[in-house]
């Protein structure tokens, strides 16, 4: 899922300063699961903003809504009346949701309440970790299901580098060395011969370097 962090309250406050009628919109999918932008978090932010408004005489009128998915037109369109009634919309969805709401309602400005950070998973209660970089050319079959692009600090295709330290990355003792994990997994599964295979330079065209990406399925197009 997409993982996100809420922006610092001062940043949110500054963004909202010029406005009065504020609509906060949460998203019921990824950011809800990672506890950043779901219904509950919308409620918490709304309470914080009401307190600030009271203390600092901002005169804000805060309304709240959370839709199933901000990356889907059919869930966004029913918000039409609420958009019209607001001076400003603040979204607690990922960058996709924020942009798509603005696309569906081009006359309105949609502000981000959160920073979209990575594609990851919940590894334990309160901890999320990155797993995929969306690089467009998956090599997980060569690396035992551990992604060197997302999980090696240098994104090496032929690791590990000389900085592996007791199984940790040279940049932090909190960070597991991806290539150390790949090696051990190959060893455990009797596939050590795989680490000897040279992975040649890849094309980054499939990644963001080829420009914004789109996917077309002619058979599904109307």
């Amino acid at each position: 899922m997409i993982i996100a962090d809420r922006k610092p309250i001062d940043d949110i406050k500054n963004m909202l300063s010029p406005y009065k009628k504020i609509l906060l919109v949460g998203c019921g999918t990824c950011v809800s699961v990672c506890m950043t932008g779901g219904e509950k978090e919308v409620g918490i932010l709304a309470s914080e903003l009401r307190i600030i408004s009271e203390l600092e005489k901002k005169g804000w009128e805060i309304s709240e809504d959370t839709i199933q998915r901000q990356c889907d037109r059919e869930y966004i369109e029913p918000l039409s009346e609420k958009f019209e009634a607001a001076d400003i919309i603040m979204s607690l969805a990922c960058g996709v949701g924020i942009q798509y709401m603005a696309e569906v309602f081009p006359r309105h400005m949609v502000l981000p309440a959160i920073n979209t950070t990575f594609y990851g998973t919940t590894v334990s209660e309160g901890e999320w970790q990155e797993r995929c970089a969306g690089c467009g050319d998956c090599v997980l079959h060569l690396t035992m299901g551990i992604c060197p692009v997302a999980r090696c600090s240098k994104g090496l295709y032929n690791g590990p580098c000389g900085g592996t330290d007791k199984g940790k990355c040279e940049i932090s003792s909190d960070l597991d060395c991806a290539w150390y994990m790949i090696y051990n997994r190959m060893k455990d599964l009797g596939k050590l011969d795989m680490i000897g295979t040279f992975i040649p330079p890849r094309s980054w065209k499939a990644s963001l370097n080829g420009g914004p990406r789109k996917r077309v399925r002619e058979d599904l197009k109307k």
């Binding site: 000389g162 592996t164 040279e170 940049i171 060395c177 051990n184 040279f198 992975i199 330079p201």
Partner: protein, 309 residues
């Protein structure tokens, strides 16, 4: 001859090679490079010109290497994958060879979080293994990556890389060297060696795999300057292992004699390394100690350096 560099000639003649290290200045004064080059001249067969080591901005490796060459010492231009994409790297290789540089050391590079630009975006378009194969392709096939057009001119580079026998997983490190040899490396400089036992074990596998026949292996040494530096390197620098015995020796030395003790240990290590099968040379990494490199090389009995035309 692949590139015809002095370093390659020393190896080819069966000599025991010696390389040093020259860190470019954190400014643009070419005189600093010339002074350091003068200190090393006659003591080494070639000298590594570091490429923004520890991710601190310094004079570029290619420029400092060119100044060193003009000052009469053969440079080994280091190139890290952290800062340039394949366009810049191949372009720099064309430029470097145009300036007469003949040795390259292909490295991943220290992570930018260690340096003075921690917010930098790293590149790693290709990794060090892929860089080795890219340089080899340019040299041997006269082609750029992803192109079958034949290059104009010749990219004569003697290709080096680093390997660290002291980074985990230990049992994989010799096989990683094999991968580098297959990618096209001509010589290797190892991470600084303090733990002879681990190094000997690594070297044995290297020889068992026949890698010492396919590339020249230079054992890396770094003289310890003080007890503080020893403890810092032992505990804080990733991929460095210093046995307790050496820590004790450095700690026991009086403060004003610690540097001498460090040099003594270094010379002993060089003697021991020379005897190990497969070791074709010494790479002396005397960090910001260029002025003492000559003394160490002399004390280690590595002079005079061979003169080959």
């Amino acid at each position: 001859m692949k590139a015809g560099s002095n370093l390659e000639k020393v190896f080819a003649s069966g000599g025991f090679a010696v390389t040093g290290e020259l860190g470019p200045p954190k400014g643009n004064d070419g005189e600093v490079v010339k002074k350091k080059a003068a200190m090393l001249k006659g003591f080494v067969d070639a000298v590594n010109i570091t490429d923004n080591q520890t991710a601190v901005v310094r004079m570029s490796s290619i420029a400092a290497a060119t100044i060193a060459l003009q000052a009469g010492i053969e440079p080994i231009m280091q190139m890290v994958c952290r800062d340039r994409n394949r366009i810049a790297m191949q372009s720099d290789l064309l430029g470097a060879t145009a300036f007469g540089l003949k040795n390259i050391l292909c490295l991943s590079g220290d992570h930018q979080s260690f340096g003075n630009q921690p917010g930098a975006k790293n590149v790693y378009d290709i990794d060090s293994m892929q860089l080795i194969s890219t340089v080899k392709r340019m040299r041997d096939e006269k082609k750029l990556l992803n192109s079958d057009d034949v290059l104009e001119g010749e990219v004569k580079m003697f290709i080096g890389a680093a390997e660290n026998p002291f980074a985990e997983p230990f049992e994989y490190r010799a096989y990683r060297l094999k991968k580098k040899v297959e990618a096209g490396v001509d010589f290797i400089q190892t991470q600084c060696i303090y733990d002879m036992k681990i190094f000997r074990e690594w070297m044995k596998v290297v020889c068992d795999l026949g890698l010492n026949e396919k590339c020249y292996i230079m054992a890396g040494v770094t003289p310890l300057k003080s007890a503080g530096m020893t403890k810092y390197m032992a505990s804080k620098v990733p991929g460095i292992i210093i046995p307790q015995e050496i820590i004790d020796r450095m700690s026991a030395a009086p403060k004003d004699k610690a540097a001498e003790e460090g040099i003594k240990i270094c010379c002993e290590q060089i003697q021991e390394l020379r005897e190990i099968k497969g070791v074709a040379g010494i790479h002396l990494m005397a960090i910001e100690w260029e002025h003492r490199s000559g003394e160490i090389i002399e004390k280690a009995g590595l002079l005079p350096r061979p003169k080959i035309d």
